[in-house]
């Protein structure tokens, strides 16, 4: 289906261009058999896709589940190319002025426990995601603000009724976390059962999980996509350190790692393995930000926040950091390759995006003086993860020091990092991120709203909220684009609520015998593994 953004549906040139081996895979006939072994660097807090937000869960658990619709596995770089997974035919066009979507389900789909998958299961799943009972968590509830109701008039039909037409609905539906659960499981075991149990209808059936070691899945012979999956099974090996992951691929103990490696790791693997390694690269729907704590002085002062953004030389940073970190692209609030994203001409008008860094830093110094805090001193709160947090954090500190500020760094392990962001709120300025799956700018940019659940700036900005509501209800793409520029200017420049550093860049070197997998602009996408095969 091509949604309202179809005219902006730019294939991500970099990803497509650099997806070495992808075209070759198309030309080759897939072979059946073999077990895919891959490494996953993080640990999954639970198996429940509806509450989790980490790739560490998706990479392990996504192959066990199906979605109603999904990003086209053969064209995952295109932000507007969606295909049916559990639905029949192609993704339906809306009716009733863009407010009603009617999905027909594939017949004969079964859960791994042998029960039939019907529209009641899809309804129960989306009721849990969109309208969770009080006390039940749902990480992506806000993606479906426009949904009024979900109904199942018969066994094979699901209808989503929207309050108003919006282009963000279909991308939200294709989010890879929206695992379809069995209504019987939800009714019998409750809403927390899926945190530690798996019963899906995906390409693979769960075998075992030895926590801290590996998770295994075996081919589902009753899978609803004919002829798939090609693999006999998969083994997701836990690898805490990046060096171990690299060595696992180099020593052929694993074929791939699907999150992404920095450029040096890619170069080392290519140098060591030559044609035995294939590299796929893509822009990444993840951006690293600095979030000032508006409740702590002097970060409640717009001039101070503007000085922070003016101190960053993003264009030079892109040139050099892209050699040592998984970041590359200079951008605004929208994923840079999307049609709704700002062009360079539009970006340079924002504070901190100009090409004359000396002038920008002079302006930053003047603003700090005016605010009464020349030589501002503060601590940057950061996450204890090398790529890209600590690398970019070190770069940002240097940039601010070059502007005359005195900055220290406080690095915390991930649980403490989140505790400080979400509960203690004791940081001055914190590194922060906005990582999304399906490229869905209208939903993705909610990060900058003070009211967003994943916004840690502690501010209220009614102008920004109103601006977003206009974007949400605008049906015209050109108008949306204009409104997003207004929103972006206020969030990043006029009020400097957050400072975007650089957008991430995904590099996936994998063993050349692993075929069929195509890189997507997100580490959450295309991990169902039903089209992956081994050419051994």
């Amino acid at each position: 289906m091509k949604n309202t953004y179809s005219k902006f549906a730019v294939s991500l040139a970099v990803g497509a261009g650099l997806a070495l081996g992808a075209s070759a895979a198309n030309a080759e006939t897939p072979k059946s058999g073999g077990v895919l072994e891959f490494v996953v660097p993080g640990k999954a807090p639970s198996y429940d896709g509806h509450i989790e937000t980490t790739y560490a869960m998706v990479h392990r658990v996504r192959p066990f589940y199906s979605l109603l619709i999904r990003v086209n596995p053969d064209n995952p770089s295109d932000p507007s190319d969606f295909v049916c997974d559990l639905c029949d035919g192609s993704v339906p066009e809306p009716t009733e002025g863009g407010t009603k979507y009617t999905f027909k389900l594939l017949p004969g789909v079964k859960f791994h426990d042998g029960t039939d998958l019907t529209s009641e299961d899809v309804k129960a799943t989306y009721d849990k995601i969109i309208f969770p009972p009080e006390g039940v968590a749902s990480a992506r509830k806000s993606f479906f603000k426009a949904v009024e109701s979900v109904t199942a008039p018969d066994e094979s039909t699901v209808i989503f009724k929207l309050k108003f037409p919006t282009g963000s609905f279909i991308p939200a539906l294709a989010t890879p976390f929206n695992f379809v659960y069995s209504k019987d499981d939800l009714d019998a075991h409750g809403y927390t059962w899926h945190k530690s149990n798996i019963n899906g209808s995906g390409a693979y059936k769960f075998v075992q999980h030895q926590k801290g070691a590996f998770l295994e899945g075996v081919k589902n012979p009753d899978y609803h996509h004919a002829g798939k999956p090609y693999l006999d099974g998969f083994k997701a090996i836990t690898s805490a350190k990046m060096a171990l992951s690299i060595q696992a691929i180099r020593g052929n103990r694993a074929a791939a790692e699907f999150r992404g490696f920095p450029p040096k790791a890619r170069d080392d693997l290519v140098k060591a393995l030559g044609k035995k390694i294939t590299v796929q690269e893509s822009d990444w729907n993840c951006v690293l930000l600095a979030t000032p704590n508006h409740k702590i002085k002097p970060f409640d002062d717009t001039r101070v926040r503007q000085a922070l953004t003016l101190g960053l030389d993003r264009w030079s940073g892109s040139k050099y950091l892209s050699r040592i970190a998984i970041v590359k692209t200079v951008g605004g609030v929208v994923f840079p390759s999307h049609g709704l994203a700002a062009t360079k001409e539009e970006l340079v008008k924002l504070k901190g995006y100009g090409t004359d860094i000396k002038a920008a830093r002079a302006e930053a110094n003047a603003l700090l003086k005016e605010a009464g805090v020349p030589g501002l001193e503060f601590t940057l709160h950061n996450r204890g993860v090398d790529q890209p947090y600590k690398v970019v954090g070190t770069w940002m500190i240097d940039q601010w020091k070059k502007t005359g500020m005195e900055v220290k760094q406080q690095v915390n392990p991930t649980p403490v990092f989140y505790d400080v962001l979400r509960k203690k709120k004791t940081f001055d300025v914190s590194l922060d991120f906005n990582c999304q799956s399906v490229i869905n700018p209208i939903a993705d940019i909610t990060k900058f709203l003070g009211s967003a659940g994943n916004n840690y700036g502690s501010y209220e900005d009614k102008v920004l909220e109103d601006s977003y509501n206009k974007i949400l209800q605008s049906g015209d793409v050109a108008e949306q684009r204009r409104l997003i520029r207004e929103y972006e200017t206020r969030a990043l420049s006029d009020e400097a609520r957050m400072m975007i550093s650089l957008w991430w860049y995904k590099i996936n070197p994998h063993r050349s015998y692993m075929k069929g997998w195509k890189i997507a602009p997100s580490h959450y996408l295309n991990q169902h593994l039903d089209n992956v095969w081994l050419d051994l």
Binding site: K271, K390, I397, V411
Partner: protein
């Protein structure tokens, strides 16, 4: 009556004899304890680097020069540069400052607290001694690095917390060694004599016992210096110690060892060499101090 010129000559002769006695002492030490002398030279070099870092290099150890990232050792950068284009020689020199600051602070505080606890425990004996020694047993049951990791995990990373984390395991180690020496001293009649004279506990401990346990105390102190430097480097390597962009040897390893081991090995080699040399130097020096102060070893 002496004339001015006679006074000057006498002073010069005295000065010469002093100089020759210092020189003699150095030569004697070199001859009798060549390894300790080598260790002392390394320690002195480290102290020199730490104190005069600002004079030895005019480069800012924290400033990124991204256009020179990962330059190999050569004329422009004697030891090469890291991934942020920072001069490694400069960061090694400034890293000595971090290592010595943490090392000396931990060693001095840890061994001094251990000295006080050890002597007090031996002097008072009884229930006080029993309680102190059981607490010491508990703390010493944990390996040094595990205890330090636990403390940093609780308090959070940072130089101050690293110092606390390293100091805590040092206290019982020193207390245990000092106590065993102090127990022997407590039984010597002059301590009883001091008590009979009505001296306070504090006076007996500080004036009559502590000076007699200085030998083990100094030996522990010097051995702690090397251990503290190694622990600080270990914690920083694990990302739980000193934080970027501060120049610290363990941190330099953490930032480059894994990723650039093949393409830019100098990023990991030089801080590794610095850590090894420093620990080696302090250990050799500590052995020398022990040999000098321990009468049993001296007589052999």
């Amino acid at each position: 009556m002496t004339t001015v010129s006679e006074v000057q000559v006498e002073a010069e002769i005295e000065d010469l004899s002093k100089r020759s006695s210092v020189l003699d002492a150095v030569i004697t030490m070199l001859r009798k304890q060549p390894l300790a002398s080598f260790g002392a030279a390394i320690v002195l070099a480290m102290i020199f680097m730490a104190v005069f870092a600002d004079i030895l290099t005019s480069i800012d150890p924290e400033e990124n020069n991204l256009e020179f990232m990962l330059e190999a050792p050569g004329e422009a950068f004697f030891l090469g540069t890291d991934q942020f284009g920072r001069d490694l020689l400069t960061r090694i020199i400034y890293g000595a400052r971090t290592a010595l600051f943490v090392g000396f602070t931990c060693a001095i505080i840890g061994s001094t607290l251990g000295l006080v606890l050890g002597v007090a425990s031996a002097y008072f004996g009884g229930l006080f001694d029993l309680i102190i020694q059981r607490v010491v047993d508990v703390i010493m049951a944990f390996p040094l690095i595990i205890l330090a990791l636990a403390v940093v995990a609780t308090l959070g990373p940072g130089v101050e917390n690293v110092i606390i984390a390293i100091t805590i395991p040092f206290v019982p180690q020193c207390a245990r060694v000092v106590r065993s020496n102090a127990l022997a001293i407590r039984e010597i009649p002059y301590v009883d004599a001091a008590r009979a004279l009505g001296f306070s506990h504090m006076r007996i401990i500080l004036r009559h016992m502590v000076p007699n346990v200085m030998a083990p105390f100094l030996i522990m102190l010097t051995s702690f210096l090397g251990q503290a430097i190694l622990l600080e480097a270990s914690l920083s390597y694990l990302g739980m110690g000193v934080q970027e962009p501060t120049a610290a040897w363990g941190l330099m390893l953490q930032g480059g060892a894994e990723e650039y081991a093949e393409s830019a090995p100098w990023v990991a080699i030089w801080p590794g060499v610095a850590i090894s040399l420093a620990v080696f130097g302090f250990n050799l020096f500590g052995d020398g101090v022990r040999d000098t102060l321990d009468p049993k070893l001296r007589s052999q």
